[in-house]
Each structure stands twice: as C-alpha cells, then as structure tokens.
C-alpha cells in the first residue's frame, strides 16, 4: 500500500521534483551557453593578441622579424589571466619568434583565422592561427602567427559564470519551497483547527462540526462527517430510548409482583410460605434496583428522557437534599448517616437530575455494604478549582487491586455477600465524566471502609 504522506509533504514533493529537474536541465543549458560565450570572448582576446603581433611583423632586407620589445613579449607570457604561448613562422615555415614546440594547424587550410585545440606540454590549449602578409601589398608571402592559452582558464571562467547564473535559481527554488510550506500551513489552518476540535471532543458529543471557516475543498468532507454524526446520534438515541422504554415497561409488572408479594407476606400464616415469600421479595427488590440502574445509566449516557441541560448548581444544597432523602433508608439499616458541607462556595455547572442520581448511587452502595451500626458520611469541600464530593463509609472496604474494576459494569467486589448488580459505580463514573470531573476510590481513614471522592469543576 502506498504510504500516505501529509498534504504539505506531497505538495512540496510535487513542486520540488519538477523544479529540481528543470534546474538541472537549465544548468546543463546554461553551462553550454556560458562556455560558448566564454569561448567567444577568449577567442577574440587571443585574436587581438595575434593581430597585435601581426601588426608588428616587419620585413626588412628579406629579413622577417617581430618588432616587439622583449618586455612586451614577456608580458604576454605572464599575464594575469594565464600564460600565453605564441609562435611566429615565416612564409617558408621558418622560425621567427616564440615557442618552437607549438604544433602546426591540424590541416592545411589557408583561412586567415583559424581556431583549434591542441595538446601542448601535456596540457590542453586553445590556439588561434592568423595569417598575416609579411609586407602588406608586397606579395612576399604570409607569416603564420599562433597564439594559444590553456583551456582551463576558460573552464574556470565558464564555471564562475555558471555559478552566477545557477545560484540565484537555487535560492529561488529554496524560497519557493519555503513559500509553499508556509502557504500550505496557512491554507490548512482551518483543517488543523478542525482536527483540534475533533480531538478535544468527548465521545458523547455528537453535535455537528463547524463548517463555516473550512476551505471549500474540505466542506464536502465535513458535511459527510456531520451526516455520519447525525445518523450515529440517531442510532444511539434509538438504542438509549429502547433501554429506557424497556426499563419503563418492566416497572409496571414488577410493581405488580412487589405488591402481590407484600400482600401475601401479610396474609400468609404458614412459616414455610413466609420463607419463600421473603426470598421472592429479595429477588423482586434486586430486579427493581437493576431496572432503575439500567434506566439511570441509559439516562446518563444520553439525555434521552429529559435532555441534558447544565445549569448553575449549589452542590451543598443538592447533596444535603439527596442525603436527607436517604436518611430513612439508612436508619432502617441502623446506619448513622451524616452530612458535612459549607453553606456556600460549592457552585458547579451541572444537570441536577444526574448529580442527584450519582450521589444516590454512591449512598445506595455505602448504605448497602456497611454493616448495621456503621457510619456513612457525605462531605462537600470546595477547593481552589474543584468541588470535592465524598462519601465515606465504615463498611468492609474494597481491596486496592479491585478499586479500578468496581467502576466496570456488572462488576461486584467478591466476598461481600450483598445483593447488588454492580451498575452503581459505572453510573457514577458515567455522570462524573459527563460533568468533566474525576472519581476515585480510596481506603477510609484509619484503614476502615471506603471513601469515594468525586471532584467536579467549580463554577466561576
């Protein structure tokens, strides 16, 4: 499978590869052009030297010679731009001046000016051959002047010229890449913000993604995703509604079962029947608890029954109210239920129904698992950023190894011997997460019992 790179990398790859290819071609072409112009210029310079020498060829008394001071000739040989080699021969090929080892022109053409390359002292040199009349208008024949210089001088010049042509192009490519890099970043900024939006989203938040600031190319993608989100939330809502409906539908028959059992317990005179009826009653209570918890879990996961609406809440007041509701049940089990909270400073943003449900589940667990004569205490303690709601009991406690697992659905601490369905803490966690809080389970003070600590973000 093709590895999918980032859009930026792909764009840059697609930009840089052709640019580099073009750059390479342009370098080759430029080098050719540079060489041609350098050759032209240097050839002309060579010719100038040859012409200079030619103008100074004298023929006096059948004697042909170059009328140049030795100093001038020496200067030719020690030029800044590289040493020149020259040879002047007379009409009959007789040596007149210069380097006698310079070879003859490669062919016998009688062109006035000829350029050619030759090997001289093991080095490549470029030579111009110029034919000049020994004495203009005299018909005394022509002298042949050869002036050569090393080819390396030209290659160096051509190289420098090439560098000056090609370097700016490289810089141009570099800046083009930079511009594309930056431009792509700018262009993709809406995508990056979309990514952040999706990353930071809770898995329960199925509201549509913002579409306005996205570039037009991305909008169909967002629309498709929003469409999927909508279908997903409809499907989830339908499922939650099914659970809620099923739980509601179960409540009526179970109410009948409970009523009939209680009635039979009152009326039955037989001890054996009483035992059976009590078992029936326990099983009925268990079923009721399970139904209620399924219902609150469905509700916590999705606000199907009455929507999910946060509002500013006084956690102290809400916890006081809920704890008060639980006093009769705690007393029925001979449990000392207490409450401790400041009168203010415990404001949070939340859904009062769900928060009550959460505390109700914590109290249900605490009251259920604490032995008669024990204590359960609900505390509200505002901190700098959070409000801590804790429920401490003097029950059997939960071994450290199991403390994380008890938040799982249908998990029940072993060996407690108490009927429960193990949904309570799963519901608590669900509700706490909904409110952006955290929940933890610790051993109680003095190593007795359990403390469930819920921390919820404090409202400004």
């Amino acid at each position: 499978m093709r590895k999918s790179g980032t859009l930026r990398r792909q764009l840059i790859l697609w930009l840089v590869t052709p640019l580099l290819l073009l750059w390479l071609i342009s370098t080759v072409v430029d080098y050719d052009i540079a060489k041609r112009f350098v050759n032209l210029a240097y050839d002309r310079a060579l010719l100038e030297v040859a012409l200079d020498i030619g103008r100074n060829i004298k023929n006096v008394n059948q004697q042909t010679y170059v009328d140049l001071p030795d100093v001038a000739l020496q200067m030719l040989q020690s030029r800044e731009s590289g040493r020149l080699y020259y040879l002047v021969t007379g009409p009959d090929g007789e040596y007149i001046s210069g380097e006698p080892q310079l070879a003859d022109p490669p062919d016998d053409s009688s062109d006035r000016i000829r350029y050619y390359d030759e090997e001289f002292q093991g080095r490549e040199i470029r030579v111009v051959a110029l034919r000049v009349p020994v004495q203009p208008g005299s018909g005394k024949g022509v002298a042949l002047i050869r002036v050569g210089e090393r080819v390396t001088v030209r290659t160096e010049s051509a190289g420098q010229l090439l560098l000056r042509l090609v370097l700016p192009q490289a810089v141009l490519i570099f800046f083009a890449v930079l511009a594309v890099w930056y431009g792509v970043g700018r262009g993709l900024a809406p995508l990056a913000s979309l990514k952040r939006e999706i990353e930071h989203r809770s898995h329960r938040d199925l509201s549509p993604l913002p579409q306005e600031q996205a570039p037009q190319e991305v909008q169909p993608l967002i629309r498709a995703m929003n469409d999927l989100l909508e279908r997903l939330s409809l499907a989830i809502a339908a499922q939650q509604r099914f659970i809620a409906d099923a739980a509601h539908q179960l409540r009526t028959p179970v109410a009948g079962l409970k009523t009939q059992t209680e009635l039979a317990l009152r009326q039955s005179q037989s001890d054996a029947a009483q035992v059976t009826l009590r078992q029936l009653q326990v099983a009925t209570e268990h079923t009721i608890r399970l139904i209620n918890q399924l219902l609150s879990l469905a509700r916590a996961e999705h606000g199907v029954t009455h929507g999910y609406a946060t509002q500013p809440l006084d956690l102290s007041a809400l916890a006081r109210e809920t704890t008060t509701d639980w006093v009769p049940r705690a007393l029925a089990r001979d449990i000392d239920l207490g409450f401790d909270a400041p009168s203010d400073g415990a404001r949070i943003e939340g859904d009062p129904f769900l928060i009550k449900e959460m505390l109700g589940n914590l109290l249900d667990n605490a009251v259920r698992y604490t032995q008669p004569g024990g204590q359960v205490t609900v505390r509200v303690a505002p901190q700098a950023r959070d409000v801590i709601l804790s429920v401490e009991d003097s029950g059997p406690g939960i071994p450290e190894a199991e403390r994380e697992r008890v938040f799982e659905r249908f998990y029940r601490a072993l060996g407690t011997g108490v009927e429960g369905c193990g949904l309570g803490l799963a519901i608590v966690r669900e509700i706490v997460l909904r409110h952006g809080g955290r929940v933890s389970l610790e051993g109680g003070g003095d190593g007795i019992g359990t403390v469930v600590r819920v921390s919820l973000p404090r409202a400004a």
């Binding site: 509601h248 539908q249 409540r251 009526t252 028959p253 179970v254 109410a255 009948g256 079962l257 409970k258 009523t259 009939q260 209680e262 009635l263 009152r266 009326q267 009925t284 009721i288 219902l295 029954t305 009455h306 006081r320 704890t323 008060t324 006093v327 009769p328 007393l331 000392d336 239920l337 207490g338 409450f339 401790d340 909270a341 129904f353 205490t377």
Partner: protein, 224 residues
C-alpha cells in the same frame, strides 16, 4: 370510603384492590382510560388511584376531564416514568400526589390515608405517634392519655417533628417555626429544646434521632 383504581396491569390492579379492601375501603377497578372516565361521571369516589399509561384514554386525559367537570376528588397518580416533567404535568393538571412504580405497599397506604383525610374538610387536629398524641388546636400533648408538661416552644418543636414523622427536619425549619422572620435564630436554643423533649419522651419509647449535619428525625414508631 370508596376508591377507584385505574390501572391496566391486572396483577398490580388486583394487588392494590385486595390490599385496600383489607383496609376496609370499598374499591372499584377500571382497566382503561375510557372506562374510568365513564365510571367517574356516574359515581362519587373519595379517592382515585390513576395510572398514567393507559389504553384508550391516557391518564392525563382522564384527569383533565375529571377536573373539567369540576370534581375535587383527590387523585394519586402512579407512573412508570420518573422524569420530572411527568410529575409536574400531573400535578399541574390537578393530581394531588404521585408515586413512581414500583412502590412500597405501606407507602401507598399511607398516601391513601393522607389524601382521604385531606379530602374530608376539617380533618382531625390531633397528631398521634404511637403512645404520643398532640392536639394542635388545644396545644396539649399526652402520653398514653396522660398529659405531659411541655413549654410552648417544646410543643412547637414536637409539632414540626410529628408533622414530618419519619423524615428529617433541619434546624432552620425548626427555627422558622419557633421564631418570627426577624428574630435571631439560635441553633443552640433548638438543641436545648430537643434535649428537653428527649428527656420527657424517651421513657415512653419515643425517639428523636440526631442526624449528623442535617437535623432531627422523629423515628417511626413500629405501629404508626
């Protein structure tokens, strides 16, 4: 006392009928909304127990028609839903109380008693709690018929506790009862009155529980 039960689940309807008949009420039963509406138009009842989810005519509609006819029969609504809006809607339409299914039978019976008493104008002014009786009009308390010495404020505290017997009463509620709005509320004073009440009532087995951080509770006597 005549009670109409409107409930479509036959097992639950039967259970309710038999338990209320055992308490010497005359009970009729309707198993759908239309039948209930029909029978309500012809017969006087002292109380109706109404399920909301009914075939043919739903409970809300039965209630609405009943009130439109000007009937003031107390209505106890039973609902399988516990969403807040159901309760509010039911009470708005003129239900007097509600219970969510499933419920404890004694709880239902207590509500039935309370609603029937409320329905009879000028209900008894004597509160009883086991051996303890409090005449709210005469401002007198008796234990097993014997008068007990209580100050006016001790009587006030006891009255609030007895009115809410089995439920928590917080200090603010007690203070409100004892003092006017602008008088200084003394939590310590409340503690003193409760302490004195305990001393006088505990020999007779009447227990006032302290609920840590929440207030006080008059414990339910076994045969309340």
């Amino acid at each position: 006392m005549r009670i109409l039960i409107v409930e479509d689940d036959p097992v639950l309807a039967d259970g309710l009928t038999r338990s209320l008949r055992a308490a010497d009420y005359a009970v009729d039963c309707a198993n759908d909304g239309a039948a209930a509406d029909h029978v309500l138009a012809a017969q006087h009842y002292d109380l109706m127990i109404l399920d909301l989810g009914l075939p043919k005519l739903d409970g809300f509609e039965v209630l609405r028609r009943l009130r439109r006819r000007g009937s003031r029969v107390p209505v106890l609504v039973l609902t399988a839903r516990d969403a807040l809006d159901d309760r509010v809607k039911g009470l708005d339409l003129g239900a007097d109380d509600y219970l969510t299914k499933p419920f404890d039978l004694p709880e239902l019976e207590a509500r039935v008693r309370a609603l029937i008493r409320r329905g009879q104008s000028g209900g008894a002014s004597v509160l009883t709690h086991g051996a303890l009786a409090l005449d709210t009009a005469g401002r007198r308390a008796t234990l097993n018929g014997e008068p007990i010495e209580l100050s006016a404020r001790e009587l006030g505290v006891l009255e609030v506790l007895m009115l809410r017997s089995g439920r928590v009463v917080n200090k603010e509620q007690l203070a409100e009862q004892l003092y006017g709005w602008d008088e200084e509320v003394g939590a310590n004073a409340i503690e003193v009155y409760v302490h004195r009440l305990r001393r006088k009532l505990e020999p007779a087995g009447v227990t006032i529980r302290t609920i840590r951080g929440l207030g006080y509770l008059l414990e339910k006597s076994p045969h309340a």
